[in-house]
Symmetry: C2
Subunit: 341 residues, 2 copies
């Protein structure tokens, strides 16, 4: 069911995104070439390549939400494209800000073309995400509804930068609370997933109240999704994730399991001393895992994840009533919670 | 007349920008603090300061254009704020991309808080510029007109990134034509000034055709303004500009006078050899100025500037007929062309 939906809509989404990111003339070909490279459409010489695309989770959620409230998903295609372009813009800038040299097994945009051009290419994508949103009216969406969708979209852009601000700030601090962490992932991950569902519902004509419940569904699922990501970063199977065992331990990433352990009365100090060693390598991972286990970090993260997942399903029930469980949104939430990488 | 207009509208504009950039909670205070610092409202410790503001040229043009076509400028205040915030966002990112450590006699945002946070604070301002535009409806601007203004605004954001892309590319190249240069400043400077006037006219209810002519006025004045800037960068009086004599020569900036001389048949090669010296300092300025003079760079730039200025005034005449010469827009164009710094 999910596969059928993706197979039907991904080519339409892809075409819309290519139209938005097309560029106008030869003089700025490199500007758009960098965007196309990041999207996985071309190689570093701007020759077409065929790469496995990302999950396209956000646009698919948007299209599903439009359909589930009785709308024509074709009308939501510009918003779906905008959400995916926005997500990709944020990755281009995150890679610069975090100094990450690889993404999806290829060098990042800044690594190839330098930070100045990469910052600017990201800005171009950011602007074009707004251009994508404005194509809604050409699909017959009313001016009022387009503006309502734009308002949600803009709010989400602001939340993304707030989340990223907090995330970068955490790296400089020794003490971060779980509440601060949840506020960060609310901005950095959950806001955009929530907006994806809410904007789809809005365009599809969701009744007042229903769009709010859809947004809550997306936000809760987004929180669960991020906590699951955190768990995979510590306990994921390297053969499946493609990352080193205990990857986030080695990166000293202040994710939920690590924060829980750092804040643990009995084991926090030992864990902090371990993480603050100047040289931290694979040989330290077993001891770190033992401290995480002693602090009950796995159970804690699992409980947090499940609690947000359950809250998400409950919100979906509020939105759709008895139709919730048979919906594609429900199936997508289930599918997300089963992933191993 | 101009002074009265500024005195009346600048406080209203300032209040609107402060409302848009206010921020929501203590957790993200630093994120918004960086924006407030860049706007000149606070010092590096986020304490209020009173600094001479920028010219606020773009928002004032927007408000004037709204009024000149018979609209209520109060309705255009959100757009005026959006245009100034957008302009300032682009300065935050330009400073990072160009490695500039000082702006308006203070350290730049990236210099104080590091490039990662500065990129992200710029992104926040970019998003909030769109949020500002969406406040138009609260002032009674119709959804259709708000969307039309947003469309122009978004197009301009894209043009800004194209212009910056070209500008950065020029630094890596030995040969740049005057046509390529004009395409660059069209995106980097003229597009936003054109949009400022056009958006004001649009909100004020300009008749079809009039908004196009207003936009042309702004674009041509923008081109003239940038060429004038280029001339001041070479021949400006250090006592007035606050910059070194021949500042843009020392920076090897591919501005119009330098490009004209580099592309000159008789003097281009000598000028190129001079500029490409590993060490270029004040002692080289007289020889550079002699080559610029021999190639007729001053007269060429002056003629180009005057030609765009005249085209701008002609477009304003197309827009306003006999009312053009007595308008504030005309007076502003005249005032701009008289500046010495």
């Amino acid at each position: 069911m999910l596969t059928d939906f993706s197979a039907r809509w991904l080519p339409i989404l892809e075409e819309e995104m290519r139209a938005v990111l097309a560029g106008q003339d030869a003089a700025t070909a490199t500007h758009y070439g960098m965007m196309h490279y990041h999207m996985g459409w071309v190689d570093a010489s701007f020759q077409p390549v065929s790469l496995p695309a990302g999950k396209r989770l956000r646009p698919l959620l948007c299209l599903m939400a439009c359909e589930v409230v009785g709308g024509d998903a074709m009308q939501a295609v510009p918003a779906a494209a905008a959400l995916e372009i926005l997500h990709n813009f944020s990755l281009v800038h995150d890679d610069i800000e975090d100094g990450d040299e690889m993404r999806r097994h290829r060098p990042t945009v800044w690594k190839l073309w330098g930070a100045p051009q990469a910052i600017n290419a990201g800005d171009g994508m950011f602007a074009l995400a707004f251009a994508a949103m404005q194509r809604l009216t050409a699909r017959g969406v009313s001016a009022e509804r387009t503006l309502a969708a734009l308002s949600l979209f803009t709010e989400t852009c602001v939340a993304l930068t707030e989340g990223q601000h907090l995330d970068m700030g955490f790296e400089q601090r020794t003490h971060v609370t779980v509440a601060e962490y949840l506020r960060m992932i609310q901005g950095k991950t959950a806001a955009l997933i929530g907006a994806s569902v809410a904007i789809g519902g809005l365009i599809g004509g969701a009744a007042p109240g229903v769009d709010g419940a859809l947004r809550r569904f997306g936000q809760e699922i987004g929180l669960a999704f991020q906590i699951q990501d955190d768990m995979l970063g510590v306990w994921g199977d390297p053969a499946v994730t493609g990352k080193a065992a205990g990857n986030d331990i080695l990166r000293r990433k202040k994710s939920l399991p690590l924060l829980h352990t750092l804040n643990d009365d009995a084991h926090g100090l030992a864990f902090r001393m371990l993480l603050e060693q100047p040289e931290l390598d694979a040989a330290d991972v077993p001891e770190a895992l033992a401290l995480l286990a002693a602090a009950g970090a796995y159970e804690y993260a699992l409980q947090q994840m499940n609690s947000h997942y359950a809250a998400g399903l409950e919100a979906l029930h509020d939105a759709l009533g008895d139709n919730a469980e048979s919906s594609l949104l429900w199936a997508t939430a289930q599918w997300l919670m089963q992933r191993k990488a």
